[in-house]
Each structure stands twice: as structure tokens, then as C-alpha cells.
């Protein structure tokens, strides 16, 4: 199979690799970058578990080829907070029991980052609509909705707008 070079910046680190043109961005992130926090739940763009930020927008990495991300800035779940720390969205998920098995969680957290960046003061209906692009089978969404409300309300020192990359970048 013909392999082509790609260069992608992921979580502020540059990755260069030769990949098959058919390789999805999700597989590139998981296999070539060894960033396995991006999960694959359906591989047809419905469940949202593979959501990452590309140039600040939430994108399903299962529906995009790695070659299409050539030159892009990607942020995955691993890049949302400094290693070992929880960002405000992550902290709110923990406080509100917004996860059980944890498999869908990275996609939710990334999606919520993009959503709150665009709409820092959402209504509950807007939150539920925004979350409808991600599937969870454990929580019944109760803790997830509460977590987003918690961040949006700025509870416990959470910023009013979520960062789109690492905490350092968001502050700059």
C-alpha cells in the first residue's frame, strides 16, 4: 500500500509519519502517536467517543483521514490539562459523577470544551442538545448534564469559558 507523509501537531507536539491514505485520524492518533485516550465506539460518526479538537473545532476523528489532518493542530483528551491534572470540565465530571465505565468520557469532555468555548452560558436545553452528539450507555446523562451546568455556572473556581487546549495555552 502506498504510504504518504503527514505532519500533525498534537497537543503541542509535532508528529511525522508515513501513513496509508486510508488510515483514519483516530487510528493515527491511537497507533502512530500512541494517544489511546481517543476511543472508537462506532467508527461511523454517531457515538462521538473519538471526538478531538482540530484547530479548535470538535471533530470526529473516525470520519477523517490522517492525511486530511496534515498540517493541522489537534488537541486530544490527553492535551486538555497538564499531565496528572484535571481541567475544569474534567473536574466537574468527577464532582457530578458524569462517568461510570469511562469509555465515552474522552469524547464527551472534548465536545464539552468546544461547546462551552462557543457558548459559555448555555441553557439546560442547549446543553442537552449539544451533548446529543455523544452517546453514553452508563450514566443516563444525568451527571454529564450537571457537570456541564457546573462548569457553565463557574462553580468551584471553574472559568466561565473553557480552554481549547492546555491550561497554559488557554491562559495566554
Amino acid at each position: 500500500m502506498n504510504e504518504v507523509p503527514v505532519t500533525v501537531t498534537v497537543n503541542d507536539e509535532r508528529y511525522r509519519a508515513f501513513v496509508e491514505p486510508r488510515k483514519t485520524l483516530a487510528d493515527f492518533l491511537r497507533e502512530d502517536c500512541v494517544l489511546t485516550g481517543t476511543h472508537l465506539g462506532c467508527e461511523h460518526g454517531v457515538c462521538g467517543a473519538c471526538t478531538v479538537l482540530i484547530d479548535g473545532d470538535a471533530v470526529r476523528s473516525c470520519l477523517m483521514f490522517a492525511v486530511q489532518a496534515d498540517g493541522a493542530e489537534v488537541v486530544t483528551i490527553e492535551g486538555l490539562a497538564p499531565p496528572g491534572e484535571l481541567g475544569p470540565v474534567q473536574e466537574a465530571f468527577r464532582e457530578e459523577h458524569g462517568l461510570q465505565c469511562g469509555f465515552c468520557t474522552p469524547g464527551f469532555v472534548v465536545s464539552v470544551h468546544a461547546f462551552l468555548a462557543a457558548n459559555p452560558r448555555p441553557s439546560r436545553t442547549e446543553i442537552r442538545e449539544a451533548l446529543s452528539g455523544n452517546l453514553c450507555r452508563c450514566t443516563g446523562y444525568q451527571g454529564i448534564v450537571r457537570a456541564v451546568e457546573r462548569v457553565a455556572a463557574g462553580i468551584a473556581g471553574a472559568p466561565t469559558a473553557a480552554p481549547t487546549a492546555t491550561g497554559d495555552e488557554a491562559a495566554s
Binding site: R94, G102, F103, T105, V109, L131, S132, L135, T139
Partner: protein, 783 residues
């Protein structure tokens, strides 16, 4: 042990509080470790060629082109692998249960769409799928067996020719003159058939495993996405006829199971046979289409219910004929849950007589597997029947339930299936739920809405959950509590927590009963080489069984630590207390030893131990619990139905639950919520559909509709906390209850909304098309 376990923890700091989860940090930062994250040197990747046909003979199977593809390392069919099979049976149901004929790969014929026919093993998953494309299969189609009611009596068209019948298992009708006399003399007799359609478990992480047969060491290593690593080990030891001690199974984080991941299935068997032949590690990760088509299905059953009621509205007898569609290759055993459906059918009501018969029937469909409350057709059938009969009697459904419900003064209450409810609160939970939802106010609102041409409805569901069922392998659990030489604690369990939060709740128990801080307890599970043999996680059993074992092991270590300190400090054991990892003389905190100092004596300063004491500071406890621990709940749902579109909107959803002592209330509510939403999804959105040829039509998440945040209501909780008398912690299991109670609550609410149109609801799902069809039919009948 020299002394009995104390009745209360030394310091109840953690049990009963909503301790934040210790699982969360890694999962929230992308550092959870799931099955597809497993990478080992030399790893190969597998994909399956599957049947496109529900039933037929394989007339040609050509894998040569696939074998020649660069990067493909092996292509195996039944001829290559099935000879490696030995025994096939699951520990939970035993070797003598009825089973379908077993085979890893289809051999000569196919019996459902999605049945694995060949496995392609390659350097990458991409190449393995390329290889699958090159495999050619020709079939001679046979008429598929799809209707369990027809199939049950058919001996010509059979799913499994080896068996000569489609009946997988049966509970025959028993002569019961008392029952028939009750029906003959009853003031009212009602009969209805109530069904539920085919659901899917849909864990967000699909199935998968990595297996490696090491031909030099002659050992099998399996990394599994499972609810029961020890069952995988025991199963594959029998399946391959190799000793259990040559197999190591591990699981790390598991992205949901809901019953689908308890037992090894055919793809697991095929991958294991393939690595045995190839001697290289092989990974198989199921894709979502495979999961929706071929992993397993659930529900797909009906009950014909007869109910005899006296003139005062008291139920005198219920007679049930239950039919289950178990598909082609169900697990475990014949895939039937009927024994428990029968056992629990009278539920929370004082119904003195029960008749029950069942047939579980093979069809040419995806096999049945347990799904959160596998026996819950008893609650679906009973609670929908309660509403239908109440309406016939002119009684409000709440009032009809109150006339029949088990009350505290009835305890202990013996059901007609000889189950003894020692501590249940169906009456109290019903009243609490009625109060929470403000039932009377809703009825008034409903009346006003009807006057405006709007259709509001309210639905109740009450059930008793036989949590922690103590049969066979499930009757006991095990924990090792080990204080290491630094004074920190390892808790090693036979569990397989996959969302249940046991890493947190079990640590809460140990922290309280050993007397240490929760942050000093590390939870270890899921490795058959480390953790003692046990059943794993499922069946709402962890709080009672795993909690019981963790508690007992903690108490033993606690007592040993006290003995060591008493000897070292020349104090009386009864004067000592432990808290936060420090053992001190009660009232004299200056006289104390840390657990680290105790551990140093136990492992190193062994000459300072009491004479005759075995060195070390750890204990392993097996806890054998009671046969049943009864939890119960009442659910009430309110809806609005748009009769123009058939769309159902849930307005409110209230749950009143009694699960005994709550170890972690946050986790309890989370379990309720998840189960409730699965049930709501099952009624309103989810339906695995086969066409008349046995072709699955719901093969993506655009067709099989899992509910999203936009559809689900806020769920309101009430709790009645009645400690279970049968276990020292007072816990009652509750993991499955939400999914048991919610479907009939939703169905009854829709039925209540549509009752003014003369509509009776006995079938599901209730998607817009289904509701619209009910409305249209009712209008046609009145014009």
C-alpha cells in the same frame, strides 16, 4: 477467628458518603486502559468473515485469495480450527444444563446473519479486512426459523438439526387444581398477551480480546474485555482441555458490559483456537456493526397472562405462559431467564397463587445473552397487566396496587414460589414515589389537559429485585486485604468492575473496617494470576458479596493488628482503637503505633509478635452470603403524547429505591439513572429489527437508536433505607433495578395518556410510528 466481626465499623468515615470516584482521574485524562489499548510485541490483528444469510448450507468456501494477500498471516475456517474444541459449558449454569451444539466457526451451514465463517489474521486490521473481502462463500438458502411460537412446535424446520427441536429449554405446566379453582370462582378474570421486542446491550466499548498461546511455555495469555476473567480462564481450560493454571486472563478498564461480557462467545473461541494454531498474539476488536448484528441480543419475549381478581379488587391468582426467543447460540446454557421470571412474577403483591410455564425457543437470529435484569419480563408483564386490569375494574392504577401490595405488617412474606421477603418496602416506596411526583396534582393537570385536547399520562411500576442471587459459583465472593511493609493497603478482589465504581466503594468498606484512610487503599482486580477465583461482576451482587468479603478480610487484619499492638505495648486489646492508620490506647493518644510500625513487626520484627502468631499482616476472606437479598423500588413516569405525530415526551421520572445501606449514595443514584435510561431507550427508541428473511435492518447507530441527552428527562430520586438483615453491612444489590422498573413505567404512562381514545397498549416499542399506528387504529375503529 477468635472473635466475631464487630457490628459496626471502628470509625464510619466513608461508608454512606458520596466519596468521589478513584477511577475517574485516569479515565478523564485519557489514561484509562481498555482492551484496544493492549499492545504486545508481534501482535497480529483479526477480522471475521460472517454469514450474510440467516439459514442455509455453505456450498463453497474459498479462502485461497485471502491467504495469498501480502500481510495476511493466516486464514482459518472450521476445518482448521473446530477440531481443537473440547468441552463447552459455562460454570454458572453447569455442565448438565441444556446447550446449543457448539462450534467456533460455521461448519457446512449457517444459522444466523453474522455467524462467523472464517477468521483472517494479518499484520494490521486494515489488511485483515482486505483479506475478508477476498473470501468467497456460496450458499444454498433454507427458509429461516424466525417466529418462536411457530418454531416451538416445528420439528421439520429446525435451527440446530443435531437437536431435532427448536425448544432450547422448557418449564412445563404443572397440574394445579387450586389455581384453576381460583380462576373458576373469581369475580373477574382477565387475559392479555404482553410482549417486549428485541433489545441490544450496546456497551460503548464493543467486545474484544487479545490472546497469545506461547508454544514454548505452553501457556495461554488472554487480555479480555470481560465481566468475569475467572470464567474466561475456567471456560478456556475446559474448551482446550488444558489446565487452568496454564492460563492467565486479565482485564483492565472495560467500557461497559450490561451482561454481554460475562461469557466467552464464538469470536473469543475462534481467536483462542487461532493463536493456539499460530503461536502468535492476536487481537480482535469488534466493530460496531458486528456488535449490533452478531454480539448478542436480549428481551424478545412475551407472556400470556391470566389474572383472577375478587370483587374487592384483590388478586387471587395469576397464570403465565412465557415464550422466549433465544436466537441461535445463546449464553449461558439455553439463554433462558424463565426460572427467575417465574420466581419473581408476583413481585411486590400479595398474590397467593401462580401458574407458570415457559418455552425458550431457538430461532435463526443473534443469540440471547444476559442484559441488565435478564428475568425482568416478570415486571414488564405484571406491571402492564396491573394497569390493564385496574382500568377494566374502574380503579386508579395506584389504588389497585395499594390494595394488593406487600406492607411492612406482612413481613416476613412468602410468595407462591416460596421466596421469603424478609425486609422489603414496596408499600413505602410506592407512597414515596406518589408523593414525589404529586400524583393527585398530576391527575388534575391531566384532566385539564384532556379538556384542551392534550394527552398526558402517568405510569407506575413497582418491583422486588432478587439481588445478589446466591446460587452455585455466585453464592460467595473473596477478598484479600494486605497491609504492605510500608503500612499501606492492597485490596485484591475477584471482581471485574466495569463502571460499577467498585474501586471506590470497596475501598470505602476497607477503609472503615480496617481503620485507614481511603487514599491508603489500592484496589486490584481482574488478573487470574493475582486475584483469587471468583464469579466476577454482574447480577447486582457486588455490594452484598464483594462487600461482605472485603469487610470480613478487613476485620481480620484489623483484629490481627490490634493483637500485635496489644502485645507490643502491653495493653489490653479491648482498650485499643484504630483510626486513620494509627492504633492507640483509647483516651491516651500518646500511646500509639502506626500501621507501618505494626507491619514492620509483622514482616521483619517477627520475634516481637505474640507467641505463636503467624507473621504477616494480610487476610483472605471468602464470604458466603444468603441465597437472596431483596431490594425494591417504585418508578413513576409522566408523559405527553402528541397524537398527531406519535411522539412521546417524558415530563418527569421519579424513582423511590430501597437498596438497604448505601455505601456511596452518588454511585447508587448513578446506577439507577443508567438503568432507567436503558429502559426508556428500550421502550421508545431501541429495536433490533429482522426482516422476513432474517436480515438485520438495524446495523448502525442511525438505525438502532440509543437515547441521547436530548431525549432523556431529569431523574428524581427518593430513598427508603432499610438495612438488609442477611448480611453484616446491611447492603442490598441494586445495579440492575433501574432497567427492570423503567420499561413498564413508560409503557403504562403512554397507555394512560391514550386511554381516552380507547387504546390499550400491550406491545413495544412505542416509537412515533408505533404510537401513531395505535392512534390511527383507534380512530378507524370508532368511525
Amino acid at each position: 477467628m477468635s472473635t466475631a466481626a464487630p457490628a459496626t465499623p471502628t470509625a464510619a468515615r466513608f461508608i454512606g458518603t458520596s466519596v468521589k470516584r478513584r477511577e475517574d482521574r485516569r479515565m478523564l485524562t485519557g489514561h484509562g486502559h481498555y482492551i484496544d489499548d493492549v499492545v504486545v510485541p508481534g501482535l497480529l490483528h483479526a477480522a471475521f468473515v460472517r454469514s450474510d444469510l440467516a439459514r442455509g448450507r455453505i456450498t463453497r468456501l474459498d479462502v485461497e485469495a485471502a491467504r495469498e494477500l501480502e500481510g495476511v498471516r493466516a486464514v482459518y475456517t472450521a476445518a482448521d480450527l473446530n477440531g481443537g474444541q473440547h468441552e463447552y459449558w459455562q460454570t454458572m449454569v453447569g455442565r448438565d444444563a441444556p446447550y446449543p451444539p457448539f462450534r467456533a466457526l460455521a461448519d457446512g451451514d449457517v444459522r444466523y446473519v453474522g455467524e462467523p465463517i472464517a477468521i483472517v489474521v494479518a499484520d494490521t486490521r486494515y489488511i485483515a479486512e482486505d483479506g475478508c473481502e477476498l473470501v468467497e462463500v456460496d450458499y444454498d438458502p433454507l427458509p429461516p426459523v424466525l417466529d418462536p411460537h411457530v418454531a416451538a412446535d416445528d420439528t421439520e424446520q429446525v435451527v440446530h438439526p443435531e437437536l431435532g427441536t427448536n425448544v432450547a429449554s422448557e418449564i412445563p405446566a404443572m397440574p394445579n387444581p387450586d389455581l384453576e379453582a381460583a380462576f373458576a370462582s373469581a369475580a373477574h378474570v382477565f387475559e392479555e398477551t404482553i410482549s417486549q421486542h428485541r433489545h441490544l446491550q450496546v456497551p460503548m466499548e464493543t467486545r474484544g480480546l487479545v490472546a497469545h498461546w506461547d508454544p514454548g511455555a505452553r501457556t495461554l495469555r488472554i487480555w479480555a474485555s470481560t465481566q468475569s476473567p475467572h470464567e474466561y480462564r475456567a471456560f478456556f481450560a475446559r474448551y482446550l482441555a488444558i489446565p487452568e493454571n496454564c492460563i492467565r486472563v486479565t482485564m483492565d478498564d472495560v467500557g461497559g458490559g450490561f451482561g454481554q461480557k460475562v461469557f466467552a462467545m464464538r469470536e473469543d473461541m475462534t481467536v483462542v483456537l487461532a493463536t493456539r494454531k499460530l503461536g502468535r498474539p492476536i487481537k480482535w476488536i469488534e466493530d460496531r456493526r458486528e456488535n449490533l448484528v452478531a454480539a448478542s441480543s436480549a428481551r424478545a419475549e412475551d407472556v400470556r397472562v391470566r389474572m383472577a381478581v375478587d370483587a374487592e379488587g384483590r388478586i387471587q391468582a395469576v397464570d403465565v405462559e412465557h415464550t422466549e426467543d433465544v436466537g441461535s447460540y445463546p449464553v449461558p446454557g439455553p439463554g433462558s431467564s424463565a426460572a427467575f421470571t417465574a420466581m419473581m412474577f408476583t413481585g411486590p403483591y400479595k398474590i397467593p397463587r401462580l401458574g407458570f410455564r415457559n418455552r425458550a425457543v431457538f430461532t435463526n437470529t443473534n443469540g440471547r445473552a444476559p442484559y441488565r435484569g435478564p428475568w425482568m419480563m416478570e415486571t414488564v408483564g405484571r406491571e402492564i397487566m396491573m394497569d390493564l386490569v385496574a382500568r377494566e375494574l374502574g380503579l386508579d392504577p395506584a389504588e389497585f396496587r395499594l390494595r394488593n401490595i406487600v406492607r411492612s405488617e406482612d413481613l416476613p412474606f412468602t410468595t407462591p414460589t416460596m421466596m421469603v421477603y424478609d425486609s422489603v418496602t414496596p408499600h413505602e416506596t410506592l407512597l414515596q414515589a406518589v408523593d414525589l411526583v404529586d400524583y393527585e396534582a398530576f391527575r388534575a393537570e391531566q384532566e385539564r389537559a384532556r379538556a384542551e385536547g392534550r394527552y398526558l399520562g402517568i405510569g407506575i411500576s413497582v418491583y422486588v429485585e432478587p439481588s445478589s442471587m446466591g446460587f452455585g459459583l455466585m453464592s460467595q465472593e473473596v477478598a484479600t486485604v494486605r497491609v504492605d511493609s510500608s503500612g499501606k493497603v492492597q485490596l485484591i478482589m475477584g471482581t471485574a468492575s466495569h463502571g460499577q465504581s467498585l474501586e471506590t466503594t470497596m475501598a470505602q468498606i476497607v477503609a472503615d473496617h480496617l481503620g485507614v484512610d481511603i487514599d491508603d487503599v489500592v484496589f486490584i482486580q481482574g488478573d487470574t494470576d493475582i486475584a483469587p477465583y471468583n464469579a466476577g461482576t454482574g447480577g447486582s451482587r457486588s455490594a452484598v458479596y464483594s462487600g461482605g468479603a472485603a469487610r470480613e478480610a478487613s476485620v481480620r487484619v484489623h483484629e490481627k493488628a490490634i493483637e500485635i499492638v496489644a502485645h507490643a505495648m502491653e495493653a489490653a486489646p479491648e482498650d485499643l482503637e484504630i483510626d486513620g492508620g494509627v492504633i492507640s490506647v483509647r483516651g491516651t493518644p500518646s500511646r500509639s503505633m502506626t500501621l507501618r510500625e505494626v507491619a514492620e513487626l509483622a514482616y521483619v520484627g517477627t520475634d516481637s509478635l505474640p507467641p505463636g502468631m503467624e507473621p504477616g499482616l494480610e487476610a483472605t476472606a471468602r464470604y458466603k452470603g444468603p441465597r437472596f437479598t431483596w431490594s425494591n423500588a417504585a418508578h413513576i413516569c409522566t408523559v405527553e403524547v402528541d397524537v398527531a405525530t406519535g411522539h412521546v415526551t417524558i415530563l418527569r421520572y421519579v424513582v423511590s429505591e430501597d437498596c438497604g445501606v448505601m455505601i456511596n449514595p452518588m454511585v447508587v443514584d448513578g446506577q439507577i439513572d443508567g438503568g432507567v435510561v436503558q429502559g426508556i431507550g428500550g421502550v421508545l427508541y431501541e429495536h433490533m429489527i429482522y426482516d422476513d428473511n432474517g436480515n438485520p435492518l438495524t446495523t448502525t447507530f442511525l438505525d438502532y437508536l440509543v437515547p441521547t441527552a436530548a431525549e432523556v428527562p431529569d431523574i428524581e430520586h427518593g430513598h427508603i433505607e432499610t438495612p438488609a438483615p442477611g448480611n453484616p453491612g446491611g447492603y442490598k444489590g441494586m445495579g440492575e433495578g433501574g432497567a427492570i422498573g423503567s420499561p413498564p413505567a413508560v409503557v403504562n404512562a403512554v397507555a394512560d395518556a391514550l386511554a381516552p381514545l380507547g387504546i390499550r397498549v400491550t406491545n413495544q416499542p412505542l416509537g412515533p410510528n408505533d404510537v401513531f399506528a395505535l392512534v390511527e387504529a383507534a380512530r378507524a375503529a370508532t368511525t
